[in-house]
């Protein structure tokens, strides 16, 4: 049987209805990644499918919500992706551009850290201020960015800060600065392979107590991803990176493409 292949754009409806699988889906997502107009159309069509869902609303047994609340109380939330800290990382990166080679492999990489921390905290505040004019919850955004930048700065400037580098098996390199005292690490990566919209990179703290999700990586900006903060480090943890369905998963479903002992 001849397999008919419709124009990618005509698959937008099927995609919004989750009616694409396998190669069809991959093909449309490749198209979607390059088509701003399609992404906008998908958003509109998703609003329509949301009403199909609302129309099918059916009150579940009360135990459903009770169980979800109980499970949520045991489930760690994924950290927010704050625009401010991501942009400020780029600014800081630009400042130390040309000095990266000197930093490579130095442990701990103290020389650039105070400057980076200062840049992070400062830029986050300024950016949050600018964003605050357009973002609905300006005050909250500002506080979140400041807090995020503060924790990142605390890790980077910690007395026991240690830097690791690792190669991601699917392409790209990761840089991690870890502080055992702060029980946290800062993760950043460069040159990661772009993923289709249905997939994301997810970070994990993998250890004797099981695999804990540590957040999904944000979209790269000019080839740089992060910084991401992962808190709650325990002795014996490894840092893992996997490719997962968008939205992330509670447990890794694919083989780690980066695994670093901490």
């Amino acid at each position: 049987m001849r397999t008919h292949r419709p124009e990618p754009h005509t698959l937008a409806g099927a995609y919004a209805l989750d009616a694409l699988t396998g190669a069809d889906r991959a093909r449309f997502e490749r198209h979607l990644a390059l088509c701003q107009q399609c992404a906008q159309e998908i958003r509109g069509l998703r609003e329509a499918t949301a009403r199909l869902a609302a129309a099918a609303a059916e009150q579940p047994p009360a135990r459903l919500t009770e169980r979800a609340l109980a499970a949520a109380a045991r489930t760690r939330q994924l950290p927010p992706l704050t625009r401010g800290s991501r942009l400020s990382w780029r600014r800081a990166a630009a400042r130390r551009h040309g000095r990266a080679a000197a930093v490579r492999g130095r442990t701990p990489g103290r020389a650039w850290m105070p400057r980076l921390a200062l840049a992070l905290a400062g830029a986050a505040v300024i950016l949050a201020g600018i964003l605050g004019l357009t973002v609905r919850d300006a005050q909250h955004q500002l506080q979140q960015d400041q807090q995020h930048a503060r924790i990142i700065a605390a890790v980077l400037t910690a007395r026991d800060a240690t830097m690791f580098r690792g190669r991601v098996s699917t392409g790209g390199t990761a840089t991690i600065v870890m502080s055992a005292r702060e029980h946290a690490l800062v993760f950043a990566a460069a040159g990661l392979r772009p993923l289709p919209p249905s997939r994301c990179y997810e970070l994990w703290l993998m250890g004797p107590r099981g695999d804990q999700p540590a957040g999904m990586l944000p979209e790269p900006q000019h080839g740089m991803t992060g910084p991401m903060l992962a808190a709650g480090l325990k002795p014996g943890d490894h840092l893992g990176l996997t490719i997962e369905p968008t939205g992330g998963t509670p447990h890794p479903t694919t083989t780690a493409i980066l695994l670093l002992p901490l």
């Binding site: 005509t10 409806g13 209805l17 949301a50 009403r51 099918a56 919500t65 489930t75 927010p80």
Partner: protein, 173 residues
């Protein structure tokens, strides 16, 4: 409200659950049909909303669209992993999900009335293609055979149908 959930506010999450549990459960049940499995998947969806609340971006669409997209995707993933696709295809041929089948069990609500009115403005083929995919969880290739048309025609009708539905409902991101 999702902003408060993102900050770990469990009471806010409880309030969100009160709003979304019915559309989430109804959507999942339409696709999976088996009630215990639907409860399990719906619970996973609610926990994912808790876990990923900080990733919700209001500039990219409504909270309802974000939540129901998660719910529908999880439901079809489960349905497709449960059954081999050939088997599902046979079922699609024998089983036509009509909108009335779904809303019969759904609560009478304003959304249902508006959606019903707007679905009437679609051509029969558009309506069948959209409802089979959404409420039946079938792929566009699977619905082609029972509708007796080419897969390419189905994909076009799905898009045209959803655009018409979106415009009729007056929903824009």
């Amino acid at each position: 409200m999702l902003g408060r959930v993102a900050r770990g506010d469990q009471r806010a999450f409880e309030a969100v659950c009160r709003h979304i549990a019915a559309p989430v459960f109804g959507t999942v049940r339409a696709v999976i049909r088996d009630v215990p499995q639907s409860e399990e998947v719906a619970q996973e969806v609610l926990v994912e909303v808790w876990q990923c609340a900080s990733r919700f971006d209001a500039s990219r669409g409504s909270a309802l669209a974000w939540v129901t997209t998660i719910a529908h995707r999880r439901a079809v993933d489960r349905a497709r992993s449960e059954q081999r696709s050939a088997e599902r295809e046979r079922q699609a041929a024998a089983f036509t999900v009509t909108y009335d089948d779904v809303v019969e069990t759904a609560e009478a609500n304003l959304d249902a009335q508006r959606v019903r009115r707007c679905l009437r403005s679609l051509t029969e083929l558009q309506r069948e293609a959209v409802t089979l995919a959404y409420y039946g969880g079938y792929t566009y290739r699977q619905v082609a055979a029972p509708l007796g048309v080419a897969a390419g025609t189905v994909s076009t009708r799905m898009r045209d149908g959803l655009i018409r539905l979106r415009d009729c409902l007056g929903v824009q991101p």
